[in-house]
Symmetry: C2
Subunit: 96 residues, 2 copies
């Protein structure tokens, strides 16, 4: 198994939480529906206000590339970016 896990930490600007969550509510189902190499993609809130974490799992490195290159990620990612207070922090994990 070459599965890849990702923990993406996203810091949202104060007051932009609802907009951010609204865009993500479109993005998450699009990922699950259109990316056969994705097996998990879910948004959570961290304890710190305005901080979100996306837990993700892909079958392999090619699937993570397909995610980033997808139309839905590019289109909806462009709508998420203006909500962020800082660049996303991406922690990459490997299958155990």
């Amino acid at each position: 198994m070459n599965a890849i896990g990702i923990i993406a930490t996203l810091r949202v600007q104060p007051g932009k939480e609802a907009e951010f969550e609204g865009v993500f509510a479109e993005l998450a189902p699009a990922v699950r529906a259109n990316e056969p190499g994705n097996s998990y993609y879910r948004l959570f809130k961290a304890e710190e206000a305005g901080v979100y974490k996306v837990l993700e799992c892909y079958d392999d490195a090619a699937a993570t590339e397909a995610h980033r290159a997808s139309d839905h990620f590019r289109t909806l990612g462009a709508k998420l970016a203006p909500c962020l207070a800082a660049p996303p922090e991406i922690e990459r994990l490997s299958a155990a």
Copy 2:
């Protein structure tokens, strides 16, 4: 949705990685098979040597309690503990 996400960080003693992974290979399927309130439970390796992260999702707080109280978690957790170099760090996330 009251779903709860968990990122559990586990530091394993040098040389105990194979033993740790072997116990986890029993634990993960037991969680998925026996806990209806668990929807995700997967072990990954972090970039730092000897550090593992478990990504977990439960339907609600009662399901996280059921996890900790389960026979499989108690029995196999007791086998994992001697492999660890430090107490587990548990980050709790809430549904977005």
